[in-house]
């Protein structure tokens, strides 16, 4: 794993696991980033139901991503109902791209290695 998640850049010339980012690599956090990258912003309730997480669990994952500067959280109201919106940042998009590239490289490397 990379020591500095924010700087875990490309995967070329190094073992693919070097490109894996501790903050992003966790399955649910990777899911949050993947969903957020597909939209301008995503509502907390959609993330909770899609990822099948409890509100507390999801909150903790979002806080980790927010503290790493990978997502932005906006709170507002829809009528009287409070809503929390999550959107991916530029560094978050880059971190997601790098993580997916590292995972694919890992798979390709294993596919290409001799058996045994």
């Amino acid at each position: 794993m990379a020591d500095d998640p924010g700087r875990a850049g490309g995967v070329s010339g190094q073992h693919p696991t070097t490109g894996l980012d501790d903050v992003v690599h966790q399955r649910h956090r990777l899911g949050i980033l993947t969903i957020a990258a597909e939209a301008k912003r995503v509502e907390f309730g959609y993330l909770r139901s899609t990822l099948d997480l409890t509100a507390g669990n999801l909150s903790r994952h979002i806080t980790v991503l927010e503290e790493a500067g990978l997502v932005r959280v906006d709170k507002g109201y829809d009528g009287r109902r409070p809503k929390t919106w999550v959107s991916i940042t530029g560094p978050g998009r880059t971190a997601l791209t790098n993580e997916m590239a590292a995972l694919r490289a890992l798979l390709t490397r294993h596919d290409g290695s001799p058996p045994g």
């Binding site: 899911g31 993947t34 969903i35 939209a39 301008k40 995503v42 509502e43 899609t50 798979l107």
Partner: protein, 325 residues
């Protein structure tokens, strides 16, 4: 991490991405709205009935037969000191084989279509986001509409200054119309790409981007002056829908947007009459039939309405399958 786990994680993320994209999509609404609004222009495209117009002055031969007539077609042009004759609505109401009877109403209608259609589309995506919890960004679509309206407003001014010097004909007109769409879409793709940059732009980059936007608008406006007569509304809708297709990342939306752009370009080069003739569709007498000029909006409007209905049915079935599953 085992190979199976890695492959499983990649598949899971791919599945999440596809699911979110499906839920997020809402393009059936702008397709239907713009389709119906396009067809709504039909009643305003009635040809000008010059024979029964009180403004027509005819001279007759001694035997009573008509010798010559002076026909004053209604138009929306006016004189501006220093510029000459300016027609602010020419991109919507001029260039028809038969001049229209109500050019002011037709021009204002298209302006209203562009503004109302844009506001309705932006409202729709925001309302839908509050319902489903995933929002499609309409920023690039809004920027396209603002720049497109600026282009359509600049065309009459450039036209007044340049006179007939900027008019293209035959194959040059066809290639020019196509280049107009290609350049506009290229600018949109560059703008979307830049908006996804990792870091916010520096001051220098912001200035460069602003200069780029101004230059692009001027180039497109100049090309539009040389190529657009009556289809300014259709072509701006076309570029807007192509932008939405990029944002939505939908194959069907892309197919409909490209088909609409194709028929709008054919209308722009006045090829619709040939299509109707080859299909054996009878248009009827030019003086009374709405389709004589209206044929330019029939196919574009139909493409959007059919595309919108198919997309709506598809979305309804997906939603129903999701609930059942």
């Amino acid at each position: 991490m085992s190979d199976a786990a890695t492959a499983g994680l990649i598949d899971e993320m791919s599945s999440l991405r596809k699911r979110t994209r499906r839920v997020r999509r809402g393009y059936w609404f702008p397709l239907l709205v713009f389709g119906l609004l396009t067809l709504g222009a039909l009643p305003l495209m009635r040809p000008f009935d010059w024979e029964n117009s009180p403004d027509t002055r005819c001279e007759y031969n001694p035997d009573g037969s008509m010798s010559i007539c002076r026909v004053f077609h209604p138009n929306t042009a006016f004189d501006v000191p220093g510029l000459g004759r300016v027609d602010p609505l020419r991109v919507f109401n001029s260039g028809f084989v038969e001049p229209v009877a109500h050019p002011l109403a037709l021009g204002l209608y298209w302006l209203a279509v562009l503004v109302f259609g844009f506001l309705a589309t932006v409202w729709w995506y925001r309302w839908r986001a509050s319902r489903v919890g995933v929002e499609t960004s309409t920023r690039a679509y809004a920027q396209v509409t603002y720049c497109g309206l600026a282009v359509l407003l600049l065309v009459p001014l450039i036209s007044a200054v340049s006179g007939r010097a900027l008019s293209l004909h035959h194959w040059a007109h066809r290639f020019g119309s196509l280049a107009l769409i290609v350049i506009s879409l290229g600018a949109v793709l560059v703008a979307i790409r830049l908006s996804r940059a990792e870091h916010p732009p520096t001051r220098r980059q912001r200035v460069l981007r602003a200069v780029g936007v101004v230059v692009t608008v001027l180039v497109v406006a100049t090309l539009a002056t040389a190529t657009i007569d009556k289809t300014g509304g259709l072509l701006l809708i076309a570029v807007g829908l192509l932008t939405l297709a990029v944002l939505e990342r939908s194959a069907w939306c892309t197919v409909v947007a490209v088909a609409f752009t194709g028929v709008a370009l054919l209308a722009n080069i006045s090829y619709m009459g040939t299509i109707f003739y080859r299909l054996g569709w009878e248009i009827g007498p030019r003086e009374t039939n709405l389709l004589f000029n209206g044929k330019d909006v029939v196919l574009p409007g139909a493409v959007l309405v059919i595309g919108g209905v198919v997309a709506l049915v598809g979305q309804w079935r997906t939603t129903r399958a999701g609930r059942a599953g």
